[in-house]
Amino acid sequence: MPKKKDAKKIVFQSADEMPMMPMSIGSMLYNKTGSWRNIRPEIRLEDCIQCGICWKFCPDMSIGIENELPVVDYDYCKGCGICAEECPVKCIVMVEERK
């Protein structure tokens, strides 16, 4: 699996090359849904208690854990705010995006 930044669009040249079902056709490698976001989660890591609730609740798997701390993947985070809502110590705040 290539890293997202190096991802190239997968284009099958014929029906025969394709799996019969829509399976791993790579559409999300270039379809960066983070661009839909109006508000972004920002995490004050100094207040984080490393409970993992934001990671668990994110419906788009856009929060990873690196060195025991949450990291938002802004390529895919749509800004739904569930992580901020669920954070027990309220160290995630939703901030308006600016162009």
Partner: protein
């Protein structure tokens, strides 16, 4: 072993002998006994399967899809409003190429609220990419479930095994229950080429751009086109093991017939009585009972009907603003064929009104006494 059983239980036995691994279902009259018996079989370990209780038919099919994508052999059953509620998920199963097998008991769509039989529920799902088998006896129901799994899994296309409410679902008949070891020989375990597993992670059924969607649909159609030959092949294989051939159609005295009735479901057996009577009075009649409706078996239908002078299709269904649905399809199959055979389209038995030998006598009397039909729909037994 022979056993007297209702049509619904013939579906359950078919699923049990096929060793379904996941069953998710929601009860609805007249389907309830199908899943009632399966839940008992799961409880007493006659069948080693996970039985998932759900809160709706939409969820039942969703659970079947989830199970099937992991590589489990999956079965469910429903009827009428329940099937309609599944509609969205029927596309997910066929588009995701998941060989779920489902029993559907033909029940008329409400309103008026009805539990009795007609085919508008399943025929409303005609274009969802499911195979459709219409059965006429409890033996055929049981045998067809096993064959449906085999054909579905070979081509990754889901199947509906369909029977009439009450005239089959609740009617008791003698059924020969095939030997389990021989069924295992006929139907080996389900091994899909791709499945959802942590060992080989894949994303399924995600966003598909215009660059690829078209090809997926092309591939589904191309595989649908392989079904008729595979049904005949697996039907012969079934006959070798169990002595019963499972084909695309059941043609009765069609070889020299001048008038051929086209029927489906239990009415297809009633039609034989009418054919026998007609033969007795010197009329060369025959009956073509359609077993497989999707994919439509063009070749065999053309071959058989081309011999006739007149064709009378009896539909227990209607496409409002068009004709009876089998009549439409028969006409489309005969389009451009030599002979320009007149097709008479009759509609009978909606909402569970009985289709009797007398109904067929009326059909035949009309067809014999007219060169061409006076209308696109000829109504049998309606109080006009």
């Amino acid at each position: 072993m022979k056993k007297v059983m209702m049509g619904n239980h013939a579906l359950s036995y078919g699923a049990m002998l096929s060793r379904a691994q996941v069953i998710a279902a929601y009860p609805i009259t007249p389907q309830t006994q199908v899943v009632e018996l399966l839940s008992e079989m799961c409880a007493d370990k006659t069948l080693d399967a996970k039985f998932i209780k759900v809160e709706s038919e939409h969820s039942a099919m969703a659970a079947c899809i989830g199970a099937s994508i992991t590589g489990a052999r999956t079965f469910t059953a429903t009827s009428a409003q329940g099937l309609a509620l599944m509609h969205e998920l029927l596309h997910w199963a066929s588009g995701g190429r998941l060989p779920v097998v489902m029993g559907n008991i033909n029940r008329s769509m409400a309103p008026g609220w009805s539990i009795w039989s007609d085919q508008n529920d399943s025929l409303s799902q005609r274009d969802t990419g499911w195979m459709q088998f219409y059965c006429a006896s409890n033996q055929e129901v049981l045998d067809t479930v096993i064959q449906a799994f085999k054909v579905s899994e070979a081509l990754a296309i889901p199947s509906m095994v369909i029977l009439d409410a009450f005239t089959l679902s609740h009617t008791y008949e003698v059924v020969d229950i095939p030997d389990k070891a021989k069924v295992d020989e006929y139907l080996p375990p389900f091994k899909p080429p791709y499945r959802l597993t942590p060992d080989d992670p894949h994303a399924f059924n995600g966003l598909t751009s215009p660059e690829h969607y078209f090809e997926l649909r092309y591939k589904l159609q191309k595989d649908m086109e392989k079904v008729p030959a595979l049904i005949e092949e697996t039907g012969r294989e079934y006959e070798k093991l169990f002595g019963r051939y499972l084909g695309l159609v059941d043609d009765y005295l069609c070889d020299d017939a001048e008038i051929i009735l086209v029927t489906s479901g239990t009415a297809g057996y009633t039609a034989r009585v009418a054919v026998d009577e007609l033969r007795g009075s010197g009329v060369k009649a025959g009956n073509l009972r359609m077993k497989v409706f999707r994919p439509f078996p063009f070749e065999v239908v053309q071959r058989i009907l081309m011999r006739a002078k007149k064709v009378a299709v009896v539909d227990r269904n209607i496409s409002y603003g068009h004709h009876g649905i089998f009549a439409q399809e028969v006409k489309s199959a005969l389009y451009g064929q030599a002979g320009d055979i007149p097709v008479f389209g009759f509609i009978a038995g909606l909402g569970g009104r009985d289709i009797t030998p007398a109904s067929f006598r009326e059909v035949v009397d009309y067809t014999l006494s007219h060169d061409t039909p006076e209308d696109n729909i000829l109504w049998i037994g309606v109080k006009k």
